[in-house]
Symmetry: C2
Subunit: 392 residues, 2 copies
């Protein structure tokens, strides 16, 4: 049966979000009619749609390797009035299926639209495709977008560590701030490529755990004594001295800036030189850091949404179920949107926070290997105090 | 004749600075005695040396793909007293040759040490190997480290552009700040991968040209009207409304922060949402962005320093001479350190500032191709106002 499928992308994009869209199109295009919503839920509310002309489909396909969301996604307020107009517009164009590629907020909105649709006598299948760099979506082992973001953070932190180690006679501390909101998955991922104690990161601060600033200062001091420099990675969601740091963008509170405040505390308490570095949009958009496995899973999550559609499933989000870690095997599945919504923001489990090696074993297949082998040690410290060369 | 060669790395590192070091070692290790200075000029002044034991050489070689400077480089004040002790220490250990891998400041210091050495009756060959991400070294077509830094900036700006285009219903402007000090080479490189008008960057602000803030605001406004979003790339050295922005790190003025001030001006004058993004240490340390050509030239600049040593040349810096751009051919050469020092900070020539295409043609072989093909256009704008799909 030919269905009319409306497809949108919502929320902050990732570097593999278009791969999911194109995976879905490749699976359903020849059997069904497609309509694309511009700006995610905004397009539904304002009937801003794109049809599935060959020209449009060919254009979308050219976005497969391109970061961002080619239909545009963005932020849009989901409330009674906008859900009502979304349902009216979906009914008007005769939609049978609504697919949204999105994160927590988008899955909740999709569930709501599914509920409202019934009151409009609209028989609407709702299917979600997960995406998030924060990995805070419940109901799935992990979400597409996360592995590539970790690859960016882990390799960048390791690289910046070698840079700072080189500059230790000038500057000793760098506080690197990552995305992740209230979940520490991405921040903790910063240590994935660390092989030796001297390598960055030396300290990782997660939003899931109470951060004691005096303890952090002590750790920085000890790390500098040992290795000459210290790299601290901090999640944007961390409480530092009883504050979470935010900025207002377009009336919305956006986390950010804790690293600069940690630097202030360091400057007031330690005799070292420190700077903050806020890893920016590259975390979710760097195309060169896309992990092969993440790309593959993103594309297949899109295709699997097509399978769920053909099976007549509804109110479900595509999931990635892990069958085994070594060797790495996953399969796609579906889970009720209500379960996802009720799961809230999925933070790191205690077993991963306590046992970082266990986490990295779990994480590694999603991210892939590091870019160079770690050298066995640093030169400066050991040589300076042990075997400096003097010819008398 | 077996010579005693002292080797150091100085200044801010690059992602290919170790490749130069190891290129040099591979060329000279079997014929000469080597000593390594820890922390660049600091190691010379304080006799902090590492010998060429097999263990040390094997360890250094493992740093070939690692960013930073494995001997440590850093910042060190070059003044009369430190130059005198450097010369005394070089004499004490019986140095015949001093090789420094560094930028502008390091080449000037090397020239000074060469001058002072004569007054100490020290017959010292001085050879410099260029490195800089800013490309502000005179006397050479370009310097190792620059191509990889451009690759990071150009691809990141293009990627972040697609991210912001996706988010345009939430945020319309991003001001991206790059390194480069008083030279715009790296900043201008941000546009290398731009193929279509809608792609980032839309505006580039160089330190070489007078920036008119009202004109910039107008350009941002027009760009948003055309494409829905605007990406401005600004050099850290740009004057914005009569100010250069700096922070103090370890008593040294470090450029930085102009992007945040441009955002303030935008917020006060335009009805759009803007954020600053400061591209950080990744510009000079991201290992995954290393350009093949840059790595190759860095390694060969090291090897060529070995050739200059064997030929008995002195007071020279290795240069890269461009023979042709298409096809790209270069050869290595040597130029007097005095010429380099007198050349000062090499800014972009007017012909490149006026004719950006000419610059990108010159630049492209050092950086390599982009990571994905540009799709032919954006969806949102044209579709929204031209052919929105409505079924009545």
């Amino acid at each position: 049966m030919k269905k009319h499928i409306v497809i949108g992308q919502a929320g902050g994009p990732t570097s593999v979000m278009n791969a999911s869209l194109i995976g879905l199109i490749e699976k359903v295009y020849k059997d069904h009619k497609l309509t694309f919503s511009v700006g995610g839920y905004e397009g539904l509310a304002y009937a801003n749609f794109i049809d599935d002309s060959i020209k449009n489909i060919e254009k979308i396909k050219q976005y497969k390797q391109v970061p961002g969301s080619c239909l545009t996604s963005g932020r849009f307020k989901i409330e009674d009035s906008t859900i009502v107009s979304a349902c009216q517009n979906l009914k008007k164009i005769g939609a049978d299926v609504l697919v949204m590629i999105g994160g927590n907020g988008s899955m909740k909105a999709l569930q709501l639209i599914g509920c409202y649709a019934k009151t409009f006598n609209l028989d609407l299948q709702t299917i979600g495709i997960p995406k998030t760099v924060d990995n805070d979506l419940a109901g799935t082992d992990h979400a597409p977008g996360f592995g590539s973001a970790v690859r960016y953070v882990a390799q960048s932190v390791k690289d910046i560590g070698y840079d700072l180690a080189s500059m230790q006679n000038f500057e000793q501390v760098r506080i690197i701030e990552t995305m992740g909101r209230n979940a520490g998955w991405l921040t903790a991922g910063a240590g994935l490529y660390k092989q030796y104690g001297f390598e960055a990161p030396h300290t990782i601060l997660l939003p899931e755990t109470q951060v004691d600033s005096r303890q952090v200062l002590d750790e920085i001091k000890k790390t500098i004594e040992l290795y000459g420099y210290s790299i601290v990675v901090v999640s944007e969601g961390v409480n530092w001295e009883h504050n979470q740091y935010r900025q207002i963008v377009n009336g919305r509170e956006v986390l950010g800036g804790v690293a600069r405040n940690i630097v202030k505390t360091i400057q007031n308490n330690l005799q070292v030189h420190a700077r903050a570095e806020i890893l920016g949009m590259n975390q979710r958009s760097s195309s060169i850091f896309v992990s092969d496995q993440d790309f593959y899973e993103a594309e297949h999550a899109g295709k699997y949404a097509g399978i769920l559609i053909n099976e007549g499933r509804t109110e479900e989000m595509v999931t990635i179920e892990r069958l085994s870690t070594a060797p790495y095997h996953v399969k796609m599945g579906g889970i009720s949107l209500t379960t996802v919504a009720n799961g809230g923001e999925k933070v790191m489990p205690k077993e991963f926070i306590k046992n970082r090696d266990k986490y990295y074993k779990w994480l590694s297949p999603l991210v892939g290997p590091e870019n160079y082998l770690s050298p066995p040690s640093l030169f400066r410290k050991e040589e300076k105090y042990a075997s400096s060369f003097h010819q008398s």
